[in-house]
Subunit: 415 residues, 2 copies
Amino acid sequence: MSSAIELIKLAKSAAGSLAQASTQQKNNALESIARLLPERANEIIAANQLDLQRAVSEGLAQGLQDRLKLDEKRLNALADAIRLVVGLPDPVGELVRGFTLPNGLKVSETRVPFGVIGAIYEARPNVTIDIASLALKSGNAIVLRGGSAAENTNRVLVRLLQDGLASAAIDSNVVQTVDEFGRDGANEMMNALGLIDVLIPRGGPGLIQSVVQNSKVPVIQTGDGVVHLFIDETARVDWAVAIALNSKVQRPSVCNALETLLVHEKAAATVMPAILDALTQAGVTIHGDEKVAASRSGVVPAEEADWHTEHYSLDISVKVVSSLDEALEHIAKYSTHHTESIVTENLANAERFLAEVDSAVVMVNASTRFTDGGEFGFGAEVGISTQKLHARGPMGLPELTSTKWVVRGTGQVRA
Amino acid sequence: MSSAIELIKLAKSAAGSLAQASTQQKNNALESIARLLPERANEIIAANQLDLQRAVSEGLAQGLQDRLKLDEKRLNALADAIRLVVGLPDPVGELVRGFTLPNGLKVSETRVPFGVIGAIYEARPNVTIDIASLALKSGNAIVLRGGSAAENTNRVLVRLLQDGLASAAIDSNVVQTVDEFGRDGANEMMNALGLIDVLIPRGGPGLIQSVVQNSKVPVIQTGDGVVHLFIDETARVDWAVAIALNSKVQRPSVCNALETLLVHEKAAATVMPAILDALTQAGVTIHGDEKVAASRSGVVPAEEADWHTEHYSLDISVKVVSSLDEALEHIAKYSTHHTESIVTENLANAERFLAEVDSAVVMVNASTRFTDGGEFGFGAEVGISTQKLHARGPMGLPELTSTKWVVRGTGQVRA
């Protein structure tokens, strides 16, 4: 193909057949894809080696190299994840609402696929398989734009996806990659109003902001998490320590990990030392305000930028606040509206925090790590929406659908 | 204020208090606004006269002058419409889903206001009142940008809205107009990511496309309707005539009115003449393809542009097609995905039409005029969404809300 837009049009023209495919047909395609992943391990890993060699020669960061890598174990894990998607209920056709009007018209609202989903993401080939399998299960064609560092791997994976679809008699054009067109491919996707129904960016804040700022196609914004935990003056010490530690260190590289700890000044002497001891012992670097720095040694002075930062690492920003009001103001100013939690024994403070914090997920006395589709029982991870339109918080398969109103009459006209 | 962005920030900073306001408080504000409309009739009509005089001197089209005009009767109708909104259930706080996880975490998803809604619309001062009352009932602050032709009227109406809010002890900053900044005001709104949560354009296709193409803030696209009716070969003549006539002539100036009639060639001699006779008698001009033009006198030859046109008038485009497939292809090419209807007695054709037409509302044997929030029983008219994200079809108050996940724990951490 000579341009990305032609590939996008191919996906669009094939989308109708996928939208009408039965659950059985879609599951057959997913089973084929799961089977092909280990069968084609040699070919995939060979392509992946080319990408890895380039990554090494271009000096890609070690963490990014690791995310780029596929081996037999990871391929098997991807196949298992696809079989999990096979087991999830098909959202397409679900009746959302239905009623009969006084004039006898039967009105129903049912779930339908969006049509064509676009995904723009970084060089993580597992996302290619993850997001394609979720799109297919929800009846959506998918146009992929992965990071150029994974181009060889993604080319092989997209062919595999297309072969799996063809074996289940689904038009393989419903999966397309525009990787070969580089940045132009991403730009064409962001301008493809009327062809792509929704764009989902997955990756770091830079990628997401770029798509949100530049896309004419509607976007579901995911991921970005400057997550706060507020330790109220009445917080139980054991809960405060356990929740802060779990929120920060259980998996620091993900979006629901804790970034900023706010401590009520009346808890600064009673609760904070135990929390900071536990964090320090777990290898966390404390970036503290003046009061935190004055309270113990080894604290890195926090700068303004720290309050805006998603560390993705064993670093935490810590601030002492004079009141719940100050905590709420700080969160309103710096939060990315992902997840915020309060540790408290005071009912009024808990309810006020839950009501006034304007985030996708608000918690009382729980680890921020629970903001997760798997933990919520949704079965698969589409992403965590931090916007208010369409979907908010952990997204399951139903969030990859729209609805359609069906009206069945017997000649009714409007009076 | 020296800039639109300052007014938008004022609305944002006041939005939190409105989001927390009780249903009673919001209803009190709406009742005050309904009472003030007739009380201030003289002041409103005087301001409206200034706008009307300018409209006359600038040669504004007669239809637009009529839409611009407010008189005592229209003010009373606006007050009645607000009292209807008072009677609607408050969507804020509605429980969408709730469950307890195996670890004891109590998880619930409840409706919350978006925060700040932006409305960009043409010179129709009734929209100022309509959309503000719907926004207030759903707990949202609102930033208004009406057409400059209604600037004097809107200024008086916004002050009235603010006075009504203040009398119910709600921060009157939750209603703002950026009319004084002209086009700059609209541009600031479209760029106000993080301040305005959703933009709703209301007006003609030009306005809507401009907002969809240029806004960085998420948009709910409404209105635009190139609506199709397909007369299948098995259509009952009486239903076909009644539905075509009602869809086209009952109120031709609205988005759910019929624009294009597609007729199966086997119905061209049996059903079409009765339909076109009825339309002609009702004063409708027929823009027909060659087969239609050959079948009767008085047909204006249809041009390519007709198939794309929302006439908003007593004009209809008519085409004879050879099959359901050709009808579906025509609709896929020219529809704006608002409403399409089929008249048929054939079950398989009905089901195929309902399944394959990708529009917000699809109908069998019913007038397209039923695509309407009031007809669906939603009580108030926010607009009809023709996009797939967030809301599709007639929008009620719940579509002006987002949701928030609340997690209540007792010290749980993730294993």
